[in-house]
C-alpha cells in the first residue's frame, strides 16, 4: 500500500490541538498557521469538487471562515484535520450542487494546444479532468481525498462521516465509475 494509506502523524495532531487552543485564546497568528498548513489540501478538495480554480479559491476562504467562527464547537478529542476536511467536503458538495457546473462539453481540441493546467501544473492527461467533470460531486470528493490529499481510509471515513470499511466500499465504486467514464472519454 502507498504512503497515502498510512496512519496519520500523531505529532501533527498534537500541534494542531495547540494551535486551536492558542487561537481560541486570541492568538490570530496561530490560525494563520493552521490556514497555511491545510490550505493546499482544502484547495484540492474544493478544486476537485467544483472543477474551477476561482470557485475553489472562494470556497477555501469561506471554508476557513466557517472553521474560524465555529472553532469553539470543535471537539478537542477529535482530529482538527478531519473536522476541517469534513467541512470542506460538505461545503464544496453543497456549492457544486448549487452551481451544477459541468465540463463534459469542453472539446478535447481545447486541450491539445494548451495542455497546461490552468493552475500552472502540466496536465498529464486532459481526459482526467473531463472524466472527473462527469462524475457526481460526491465521487469527485472521494477521489480527491484519496488521490490528491492522500488521506488514509480511516481519515477519509471521518471526513465523510462513515466507517473506514464503508469508505473503502465507496472508493471502490467511485473508482469504477471514474474508470468507466475515463475509458469512454479516451475512446472518443
Amino acid at each position: 500500500m502507498s504512503a497515502a494509506h498510512d496512519s496519520p502523524n500523531a505529532r501533527d495532531y498534537d500541534e494542531d490541538a495547540i494551535l486551536v487552543e492558542r487561537t481560541l485564546s486570541g492568538d490570530q497568528a496561530s490560525f494563520q498557521t493552521l490556514f497555511r498548513r491545510y490550505h493546499d489540501k482544502v484547495f484540492a478538495i474544493a478544486r476537485g469538487v467544483l472543477l474551477d480554480s476561482e470557485e475553489a479559491a472562494d470556497a477555501v476562504q469561506e471554508i476557513f471562515t466557517l472553521v474560524y467562527r465555529n472553532l469553539r464547537r470543535f471537539d478537542r478529542r477529535a482530529k482538527f484535520s478531519t473536522w476541517l476536511f469534513r467541512i470542506a467536503v460538505n461545503r464544496s458538495i453543497q456549492q457544486a450542487r448549487k452551481i451544477k457546473k459541468l465540463r463534459h462539453n469542453v472539446p478535447l481540441s481545447d486541450f491539445e494546444e494548451a495542455p497546461f493546467h490552468e493552475d500552472g501544473v502540466p496536465a498529464t492527461d486532459p481526459n482526467i479532468e473531463v472524466a472527473m467533470s462527469r462524475l457526481n460531486p460526491t465521487d469527485r470528493a472521494l477521489l480527491t481525498l484519496v488521490y490528491w490529499d492522500e488521506l488514509s481510509l480511516q481519515e477519509v471515513g471521518e471526513s465523510l462521516g462513515c466507517s473506514a470499511n464503508a469508505a473503502k466500499t465507496r472508493l471502490f465504486r467511485s473508482r469504477e465509475r471514474f474508470r468507466a467514464v475515463y475509458e469512454e472519454v479516451s475512446n472518443r
Binding site: 502507498s2 490550505h39 482526467i128
Partner: protein, 257 residues
Amino acid sequence: MNVPREIDELMWEIAESHDETIEKQFVARYPMYVAELDMRRKLIGDLKGSRPTREPAIFVPSAEVRNFGASRLTVAFMAAILVASFGFASYATVRFLTSRNPEAPIVPPTKTYEAPPAQFSQTPIEAEPQFLPKSNSEEVVGGEPLSAQQTDPYLRKVTLRSEKTTLVDVINEIGAQAGLTITVAPGFVDRTIFIIYEDQPAIGVLNDLGRKYGFTPFEQGNQEILVIPARGSGSIKETGAAGVANEIKEESNGQAE
C-alpha cells in the same frame, strides 16, 4: 474484462502502491492481467498528477458566508412547526372519533308508567268487558289494568279466557288490553276457538296463535301491529306464551260462523 472481485481489489492496491516486489509476484501468478494492471497504474498516476496547487493567500475571514442549505435555525423552526402540526392533528383526530360515540347522557327519568286515572281502576275490566264478542262466546276476562303493565307495550300482559270466541275477536282483545293497534290484513281466515291465556305478554300470545293458525304479527312500532296471514318470523321479539287455544270445529248444522 470481467475480473473477479478479489483480484480487482488487489490490482487497484498494487497500482497505488508502486511496490515492485508485489507487482512481480502478481504478474507471475496472473499474467493475463498484465495489461489491465498497467492501465490502472497509469490511471492512478495521471489522477494524482493532475492535482492542482495554489499558493495560499493570507486568510481573511469572509464578511458573509453564502448559505447553500437551510440554516439550523430554519431547520429547527420547521421541525417545531412539524411537531406542532402533528400534535394538533392527533388531538383533532381523537376529538373527532370520541365525538362520534358520545357517552349517553344521563337523563333522569321524567316519566314513569303510573297508574291510570282513578276512575279507570275503579272499573275493573272484569266488571265492564272491553268488548262485546260477536259470537255467543262467553265473556273474555280482561287482563290487569294498563297501569300495572310493562313499559314495552308489546310485552304488556294480557289474560284471555273463553270457551268459544273467534280469532279476530281475540286479536282485538289483545290490542285493547295491551293498548296496541292491531290491523288484520286482508285474506285472514277467521276461526272459532276456545282460548285460555293468563297474564301473558301480548306479542307472545299473538306469536303463539300465529304459529297455530297461520298468521304472522309484525311489530310496526308506535304500538302498532300488522297481522299478515301466513307463517313466518315477523315479530322482533319471538316471545312465546303459555296458553291453550284450539279451534272449535262447528257442527255441520250451521252453527259455525
